[in-house]
Assembly symmetry: C2
Homo-oligomer: 234 residues x 2
DNA sequence: TAGTGGTCTAGACCACTTC
DNA sequence: AAGTGGTCTAGACCACTAA
């Protein structure tokens, strides 16, 4: 084998699982016995088990034992970025407007705010090859004096804001990807015709600690400008 | 703080990064000095660093040091399954046919096979509320006597095959998600009209070790039957 | 050559589960 | 009470990077 003990052990146990000697749901030998069997310290053996856990092969129940996973393997890893994920070469980003608006019911729900709160709306159009390929609408709850809101207005780019605020790591985002039909309100901002299919990517941005979203964004993208790639991982 | 040392250390370093005391690209104090600073053993300190690495906060260059990451945060986690990801309640899955075909050039490239190889094609239609909502085409390189091919014909369901073969863990898959226009060949298998937009999810399935894909699949899905959800992670 | 991270040990004490 | 995993230590030796 190789000369790294914990890697050899990981591979050996993987092989046992793949060959069917260990079946999903089975208990593995306790750590003490495994460390004897492989002739390594318990510390080293535990490093192997930790790797197997992180790769989704086994799971641990403290006080009971380590069990072989019943795998689902439906999880994919995907990159998305409202600019870089486009298939087309962007020529320009056109700022449509920045307004303070009174939110509708659906937006109030998304942002977890009440009818008396105001919302900043930033709208942008992305141009490529003379076409309007993406229409981005960014909604931010307005908090007077909030540096985030002021920065968004100044920077007009959410990533710069995040950078300035050192928010990178505590940010969580969700995406919803669907195809909708273009309605009349889209026609000014996207090179499509009424009823044409359009990608709608809805994004919520959370600041790790708070429950309220920092921002809710909608990206309307012409169908031929977006192709998503995903890959299983672990 | 809590009473788990390595967790406290992780949080302390996270805070230093988030507060800007540690900036992307900065070198962290060497492990030896950190273990002194926090008053723990190097082993414990290293456990903290390993966690920070796995969560994407820092990265390590052996022989040099640990550095604060320059975060991209475009990575999302998404579930996809040709059956369970549908928004609609499936009523039936109809097997269209199972054939041995001679691959076209594009398929030869996808499966990494030559013009003399044969391919098994399995075609299925998924029905919901009286509509054909998904049309699945599964391509498998034909290897005589290969248990996989025999099983696919018998089971007519790829996941059962994987289960029987204990392949779960060494399987890697890629997805490509796009929207295409329905052409004439689709009309028999999907409740759409010529030119209608259709999700096309292309999937490659690799068996960890081999370079050749085990299978190449195409799922054509009516646009209103699929909505994808994704979430940042780490 | 000195400094850094990578691997490994042998043993300790704790909290939890099960009987 | 016995068995299991969770945490932690103090020290060793190695491979790699840099001056």
């Amino acid at each position: 084998m190789g000369n790294v003990l914990y890697v050899d052990i990981v591979n050996d146990i993987k092989n046992q699982i793949q060959s069917g000697q260990l079946r999903p749901g089975d208990v593995i030998l306790p750590e003490y016995e495994l460390s004897e069997k492989y002739g390594v310290s318990r510390t080293t053996l535990r490093k192997s088990l930790a790797l197997l856990v992180s790769e989704g092969y086994i799971y641990t129940i403290p006080g009971k034992g380590n069990y072989v996973c019943r795998p689902a393997r439906k999880k994919y890893q995907m990159d998305f970025d409202e600019v870089d994920s486009l298939k087309v070469e962007l020529e320009d980003i056109h700022m449509v407007d920045v307004n303070v608006i009174t939110p509708r019911k659906s937006l109030m729900d998304k942002l977890h705010i009440s009818y008396q709160d105001k919302v900043i709306r930033v709208r942008k159009v992305f141009l490529a090859a003379g076409r309007k390929v993406e229409y981005a609408v960014i909604y931010l709850p307005y908090e007077k004096g909030s540096p985030i809101v002021e920065d968004v207005i100044n920077f007009a780019n959410f990533f710069n804001v995040m950078e300035k605020q050192n928010l990178h790591f505590q940010i969580n985002k969700t995406l919803q990807i669907q195809v909708v039909q273009a309605d009349a309100s889209l026609l000014d901002y996207l090179s499509v015709e009424l009823g044409d299919p359009v990608f709608l990517v809805s994004q919520e941005i959370f600041s790790g600690e708070k429950e309220r979203p920092l921002s809710y964004n909608e990206f309307y993208i012409v169908t031929d400008a977006l192709r998503l790639y995903a890959e299983t991982f672990l």
